[in-house]
Amino acid sequence: MSFRRLIPALLLAGTAAAMASGAPAATLAIGNGAEPGTLDPQKTSGAWETRITRSLFDRLIDYDVDGSLVPGLAESWRISDDGTVYTFHLRDARWSDGEPITASDAVFALRRLLAPATANHNANLYYAIHNARAVNTGKAEPATLGVSAPDDRTLVVHLDQPAAYFLQALAMSEAAPLPEHLIERAGTGWTEPGTLVSSGAFTLEAWRPQAFVRVARNPRFYAADSVALDGATFYPIDDAGAALNRFRSGELDIAYSGVPAARFDWVKQHLGDALRVGPLVAEYFYMFNLRDGQPLADPRVREALNLAVRRDVITRQLLGMGQRSSYWYVPRATAGGTRGRMAFAEESPEARLQRAQALMREAGYGPEHPLPLTLRYNTLEDHKKIAVAVAAMWKPLGVEVDLINSEAAVHYAAVAAGDFQVARYGMVATVDDPYDFLNAYADGGSAARSSGYHDADYDALVERSTQTLDPAARARLMTRAEQRLLDDYALLPLYDYVSAHLVAPGITGWQSTPTDVHPLRYIQIED
C-alpha cells in the first residue's frame, strides 16, 4: 500500500474505533477564538470565556436564542413602582451535584462579585445595588450589600436608585448564582474538572489548557429535556485562517475566530451558507483629545474632521463585510432605541468638504498653516488601512497626519493616559443597553477620562435616563444625550461593527445576535 493510500486508511480506522467506543453523536466542535483564562464566571474577561461559563452557569435571567431576555433560574420577578426593589422567585432547580440552588447562592454570588478581592472587571455595572460601591472599594463589608434571601426561593435586591439596565446586568455571566457549598470548601480550585458544580445546561467534563474544554449535558439542569446536544468541545483557535481551514476540513461545526479579512469575499462566495454576519452592539470610532490646549479643543476643527471623512468609502471599499457607516455613537443594533445622528449625514461629499474647509480657515488652518495631528492606532491591518484612508481624506483640509502604530497594550495605556490627539477606539457593549455607551462619556466614565470630555448637561441627561423606567421616555432622554455629544462633535464615529462567524449548514438554533451571545442549550445538529 502506498503512503498516499495508507494515511486515509489509517484515519478511517481511527474514526471507526472512536465510533465503536460509543462516543456521543450530538457533540459540537467549536472554534472558540482563544484559550479561556478562567472558568470562574466572576473572573472572566472575554467572550471566549463567557461562551463556556454561560453554558455551565445559568443566570437568574437568561438569553433566548435571539438574544432577548427570558426567565432563567428566576421563574418570575417583580420590580417595585419606584424601580428600586427587585424581588425574584427562584425556580426549583438543582446544582449538578444534586444540591438545591437557593436564593442564598445568589446572595453569595453577588457579595462575592463585589468583594474587592474578586477584582471583577464589570463590578461597576452593579454599583446601583445598595452599598455596592462601598463594598467594592473595601469601605464596607460584603454582608452590608443590599441583597437578601428571606427564604430559599426568594431573592430581594435593593437599589439606591432606579437603574433601567439592571436586568441586563443580571443576565451577565458574572451575575450567575454560584455554588456556595462548593466554593467555601474547594477555594480557588473549584473550577477544576471533577470539582466544578454547574447550574446550566452543561457540566464541565475536561479542560486541557490550549487544547480544549469539553462540556457534557447536565442531566440535573431544570430544562434538561429541551437540550439537544450531548456535549460540546471548545477549541482555542486564535488564528482566523487556521480556524477557516479546520472548519473547511470538517473539524469544526462553528468557528468564532472571525473570518480573515483578506479572504472574506472568497468565504462569501464558497461558504455562503455557513457565513453568518450580523450587526453587533459595538462601535468603531476615533476618540478626540478635548483637553484645553489641544487643537481638537476647538469644535470647528472637530466638525471639519467629521465632515471630511467619507464613511461609505471605508465600510464598502476598505472593509466590505457589511459594517454600517455610522454618524452616531450608540450602535443602531442596541436595544433601547437611541436615534442621535450627526446633522450632515445626508449632505453630499462635495458640500461637506467645502464646509469643512471653510471651518478650518475660520479656525486658522489651511494649506499655508497646516494643522499637524497625530493619529494613534493599535497594530492590525484594518486599523492601518482605515487610518491611512482617513489621513488622505483630511489632507484637503490642510491637516498633516502623523500615524502612530503601537501594540495593543501600549496603545490602550496611551489612550487611558490622555497621551494622544486622535485615537482609534472600539467600544464593545458589556450590556445590550445604550447606558453602557452613554455612561462612558459621562463624568467619571472611561471615555470621558481618556478624552477629557466634560459637559454637565450631558451628564444630567444620562443620569436622568438611567433612572427613567418608561422605555419611550427613556429613549427620548438617551437620544437627547447622544445628540448633545454628536452636536459637540466630541468624537468621530466610523462604523457599527458586525460579527462574522462560520456555522455549519446542518446546525439549527443558532442566530446572529447584537451581543454575540449564542446559548448552547438551543443549538441542534440536524441529520
Binding site: 484515519l11 481511527g14 472558568l39 478581592a117 472599594t137 490550549q210 487556521a242 473539524e251 501594540e407
Partner: protein, 307 residues
C-alpha cells in the same frame, strides 16, 4: 568531567539571576500594563486588580517578593490564565512542545546531515545545486507561510491529515506541525553540514587518509563526518532549546497545546509572571543545552578534554 559539569552548573546560577533581574525590570519598564484594555477600567476596579496581584507595591518590593517565591519554586499565578499557576502551564505544555520539537529536530538531523554530506561530496554538481537551492528556499520562506499552506493542502484540499488540533498527540496530528517546524532546520543543518564537510575534505589529514589508500567512502565515514559535525553540534545546542520550547506560529496555526505561545502572548498581554516563568525556563534550558554541547565536543574531538 564531573567536576567540570558541576562547575558549569554553579556558574549558571549567577547567569540566570542576571537574566531574571534584567527581564523583570525590562518587562515593567515597557509601557502598558496587564489591565490596559480597550475600555479603561474604573479607578476603583483597577485598584482592586492591582492589589490582587501586588502591583500596588513599590517595584523593588515586588522584585524581592518575586525572587523570594521563585526560590521556593513558585512562579506565581498567571495574570491571564487565572485558573493556573505559571508552573502548571509550563509543566502541562512542555511535554507537548518537547515531543513536537524533538521529532522536528530528529527529522532535521536525519534529512539535513545526509543532504549536506551528499552536497559536499558532489560539490557543484546538479545534486548540490538542487539541495542548496531547496535549502535556501527553506530558510527564506518563513514558517508562518509554510504552515498554513501545509494545513490547506494536506488538511483541507487533500484531506489526508487533520488541518489542526492536538487530539492527545495522535500521530496524524503530529505530521504537519513536525514537518512545518523542521523544514527550516533541515535547510540550516544541510547548509552548515555542507560547508563544514567541504572544509574538512580539504584538510591535510583527509589528504593523508586518501594517500594511505583508503576508499573514498571510508575516508568520508571514518575521518570526515565526525570533525565536520562540530559546527553543527554547537548550532544544535541553542537550536534545540529554541525548538523544544515551542513555536508560537506552529502552535497557533495547528492548535498545538505547547508553551511557545506563552512567551509571545505573555509579553503582548503584559502577563508579567507568565513571561518571567518562560524566561527562567528557557534560560535554564539554554544553559543546559550549551553544557551538553560542550560535553559532546569532547566526544567528537579528541583534542578537547575536560578534567
Amino acid at each position: 568531567m564531573l567536576s567540570y559539569t558541576l562547575k558549569r552548573l554553579l556558574q549558571a546560577i549567577p547567569t540566570l539571576l542576571i537574566v531574571i533581574t534584567i527581564s523583570f525590570f525590562l518587562m515593567r519598564i515597557a509601557p502598558g500594563g496587564p489591565f490596559d484594555g480597550e475600555r479603561q477600567l474604573p479607578p476603583e476596579i483597577e485598584a482592586n486588580l492591582e492589589a490582587a496581584y501586588h502591583l500596588d507595591e513599590p517595584l523593588p518590593m515586588q522584585y524581592l517578593r518575586y525572587m523570594g517565591n521563585l526560590l521556593q519554586g513558585d512562579f506565581g499565578p498567571s495574570f491571564k490564565y487565572k485558573d493556573f499557576s505559571v508552573s502548571e502551564l509550563i509543566l502541562q505544555g512542555f511535554p507537548v512542545s518537547l515531543e513536537i520539537g524533538g521529532l522536528a529536530i530528529l527529522l532535521a538531523l536525519l534529512l539535513g546531515l545526509p543532504l549536506g554530506v551528499i552536497a559536499a561530496i558532489r560539490r557543484n554538481s546538479a545534486i548540490d545545486y538542487a539541495v542548496m537551492g531547496t535549502a535556501l528556499a527553506g530558510i527564506a520562506i518563513p514558517n508562518f507561510v509554510i504552515a498554513p499552506i501545509l494545513a490547506l493542502v494536506f488538511g483541507v484540499l487533500l484531506a489526508w491529515l487533520p488541518a489542526g488540533g492536538w487530539n492527545g498527540g495522535a500521530w496524524p496530528n503530529l505530521v504537519l506541525p513536525v514537518i512545518a517546524l523542521s523544514i527550516q532546520q533541515i535547510a540550516y543543518i544541510a547548509r552548515m553540514m555542507r560547508a563544514s564537510m567541504i572544509e574538512v575534505l580539504g584538510s591535510h589529514y583527509i589528504r593523508t587518509a586518501r594517500a594511505k589508500g583508503l576508499s573514498e567512502s571510508q575516508v568520508i565515514l571514518r575521518h570526515a563526518i565526525r570533525p565536520a559535525l562540530l559546527p553543527v553540534t554547537s548550532y544544535l545546542g541553542p537550536a534545540i532549546a529554541g525548538i523544544i520550547t515551542g513555536s508560537v506560529v506552529i502552535e497557533q496555526i495547528f492548535g498545538i497545546p505547547g508553551i511557545g505561545r506563552y512567551f509571545v502572548q505573555g509579553a503582548l498581554n503584559r502577563d508579567y509572571t507568565l513571561v518571567m516563568g518562560t524566561v527562567v525556563f528557557y534560560g535554564a534550558l539554554i544553559v543546559l543545552m550549551n553544557l551538553l554541547v560542550d560535553l559532546a565536543y569532547s566526544a567528537l574531538d579528541p583534542q578537547i578534554r575536560y578534567d
